[in-house]
Subunit: 136 residues, 2 copies
Amino acid sequence: MKIYFAGSIRGGRDDKEIYLAIIKELQSYGQVLTEHIGDASLTSFGEVGTTDQSIFERDMNWVKESDIVVAEVTNPSLGVGYELGQAEAMGKKIICLYRKVEGKRLSAMISGNQYMKVFEYETLEQVKDILTKQVV
Amino acid sequence: MKIYFAGSIRGGRDDKEIYLAIIKELQSYGQVLTEHIGDASLTSFGEVGTTDQSIFERDMNWVKESDIVVAEVTNPSLGVGYELGQAEAMGKKIICLYRKVEGKRLSAMISGNQYMKVFEYETLEQVKDILTKQVV
């Protein structure tokens, strides 16, 4: 199974350790195409040594060839939103993982969208349970 | 002309005054379907008295019926990203307006995407010039 994991890069790297933990978990289900999203050395400046156009084309090809898209949507990210909009248009199965944050709310484009499967979590154990049931 | 203006709501309202100024400018070209994005009383909590599903369905219908999508993409927003991904899939003309912010970069899903017309600006005068040339 090919898995496209989506998480914030230029939108902010506050959750990079959580992304890494989710990616490690996802790797027991198949190949995570976007393994670099969990890389602790990747900052909000983004990838270096490549062009934005190359990143865009590579990522969109990965979305196309993926069997499932798993997105961590707690940190607002233009790129993750775009990928979800495109993945939905391609008919991909989409799972969104969200941590409730005091005073913040998930975008209605995700929470009000019946196409997306959105799951709230607090712990990595809960993420594991969600993935066991959903990544099939 | 029907214009879908996209700006951050739940991703953060720091730029709400800029959104309002752009919306006022866009209103000289046609009907701005999403006039509420510039409403100073709209907080990052989002709209009240409606459901996320209603917001989602209304907004997606507006994207569908729009002739052009104009997005202010400086503040990272999951909803704006999703709308851009969907609008592109629908073949809509898309204009993105971006202010360079020290230490931050625009998502490669937007900046590296040849489909989008991305314009950097600093002043409202520059926005007016961009719109004069692009909103036709």
